[in-house]
């Protein structure tokens, strides 16, 4: 049975006077991959960032509505945004490893959050995270090398390993493969299919083939509105709305 991980309820967002999200309501299911698609400026990345309060970092942003993660509203006054971001990790478009070693990239946050102490436990966590991200075999002999010495695809998997290291419940991915070649892209997509066994994944992508290949659910956004949301197979085979069909068949956007 599918279980709701995130319930978004009448979410509205403004950048100053400009409304960027308009009454968005949807359920994101546990251990599923949900893709957010739509043309540039439709609000999909803005929506993604509302799921771990990344928009709080922008002064002019005003948010109204609820985002319930495991039935708890992450916008409640008493909720600490840092703890939210620990539970809901994020991977960005450009791989952004810290200017540190591969080992330190993974160990940094778990040590900071006091999840582990330096030593054997930390070594085990680094190894486990790299294994989960499908990177361990490629870097096991060079853990002290800088993270930036890796290829773009490897750096992105390092960032995923870094996210996994703090044991989040949800992983948000903002166009995680747009800067990568097709082989690295396939590795990340395969990794996502593995990771969903343990995590709930929400991905923003401009690549509709990517959404159709990996996502269980797809949400189509346009001009800040959620036009259609459902099973990916329904969205790509039998979309209910003409606008969705026009977009996925390349007639606009």
């Amino acid at each position: 049975m599918k279980k709701i991980k995130i319930n978004v309820n009448n979410l509205n967002l403004w950048y100053g006077n400009n409304k960027a999200l308009n009454d968005i309501s949807l359920d994101i299911y546990k251990n599923k991959i949900t893709a957010l698609i739509g043309p540039s400026g439709c609000g999909k990345s803005t929506f993604l960032r509302t799921l771990n309060r990344m928009n709080d970092l922008i002064n002019i942003v005003k948010i109204k509505g609820k985002v319930l993660v495991d039935e708890q509203n992450i916008y409640d006054k008493y909720v600490d945004e840092v703890s939210v971001r620990k539970r809901i990790g994020m991977v960005f478009q450009q791989p952004n490893p810290f200017p540190k070693s591969i080992y330190e990239n993974i160990a940094y946050a778990p040590l900071k959050h006091k999840i582990v102490k330096k030593g054997k436990k930390c070594d085990e966590l680094v190894e486990k995270s790299l294994v989960s991200a499908g990177l361990f075999d490629e870097v096991k002999d060079k853990l002290k090398d800088p993270g930036t010495s890796l290829s773009g695809g490897q750096q992105q998997r390092l960032c995923i390993a870094r996210t996994i290291a703090v044991s989040p419940d949800v992983i948000l991915m903002d166009e995680p493969t747009s800067a990568l070649d097709p082989i690295s892209t396939e590795k990340i997509e395969s990794l996502m299919l593995e990771l969903k066994k343990n995590y709930t994944i929400v991905i923003v992508t401009h690549n509709m083939q990517q959404a159709s290949r990996v996502a269980d659910y797809t949400a189509f956004f346009h001009l800040g509105n959620l036009i259609e949301y459902g099973l990916t197979s329904d969205i790509f085979v039998n979309p209910k709305k003409k606008k969705t069909e026009d977009y996925i068949t390349g007639r606009f956007g």
């Binding site: 396939e186 997509e189 395969s190 299919l193 083939q209 159709s212 290949r213 990996v214 990916t232 197979s233 790509f236 085979v237």
Partner: protein
């Protein structure tokens, strides 16, 4: 290839194979019915094909989903297209088999020269079964050499059905000239045996499609 597409393709392949096995099994049971002169087996043979349309629709919908979600290319694309066309061939082979069973089961009660007919109809049915069975086995083969060997075998069996049917037709027309009063029965038998030839023809189409899937080239009928 992403794991989820690989699983989908394997599932489609398995479902297609199972669908084909139903057609093979139905034909084998109906042959047994004729050899053992057991009318009960005809209904058993017919029952094997129950819901074959539903099975075909299920596979077709999975293929549509696979095409829409994974945009396969090269061999993967050829496989999906071939499988989509094979479900149609199998549905028609199932329909030919049902018609054969329905019509030929009445032959047992007819007052016609059964020995003369069975002498060639049994080899005809055996060749037809061999053709469809071999074509279905091809679905699970991935070595090109083996596929080509099986393809040749299907074509040989299909040619045999053509020849055997021709011989039956010739023999029956000879008999008919002496027993005009039974012409309706003889033509009825002939028409039902034609369905077996059609099953073999479907097998040949399936083999062609599987060669297209494996080797490439252009689709041809």
């Amino acid at each position: 290839m992403l794991k989820n597409f690989k699983i989908l393709l394997e599932n489609i392949q398995n479902e297609l194979y199972d669908m084909g096995q139903k057609v093979v099994s139905s034909n084998e049971i109906s042959l047994e019915a004729i050899v053992s002169n057991d009318k009960e087996l005809f209904s058993k043979a017919k029952n094997v094909l129950n819901n074959i349309g539903t099975v075909s629709n299920k596979i077709d919908n999975s293929i549509v989903k696979g095409l829409a979600l994974h945009q396969p290319e090269a061999k993967d694309l050829r496989k999906m297209i071939s499988y989509l066309k094979i479900t149609n061939e199998l549905s028609r082979a199932a329909s030919n088999t049902k018609n054969y069973i329905k019509n030929f089961s009445k032959f047992i009660d007819m007052e016609i020269d059964s020995k003369n007919i069975l002498e060639f109809s049994i080899p005809l049915q055996k060749s037809s079964i061999s053709a469809i069975k071999t074509s279905i086995d091809m679905i699970k083969i991935s070595q090109r050499d083996t596929i080509e060997k099986y393809f040749d075998k299907v074509n040989v069996e299909e040619n045999k059905t053509d020849d055997l049917y021709g011989m039956i037709e010739k023999n029956l027309l000879k008999v008919l000239s002496h027993k005009v009063e039974l012409s309706k029965d003889y033509l009825y038998v002939l028409s039902s045996l034609r369905k077996l030839e059609k099953v073999a023809h479907r097998a040949s189409s399936i083999a062609n499609l599987l060669i297209f899937a494996e080797v490439g080239g252009e689709l041809s009928s």
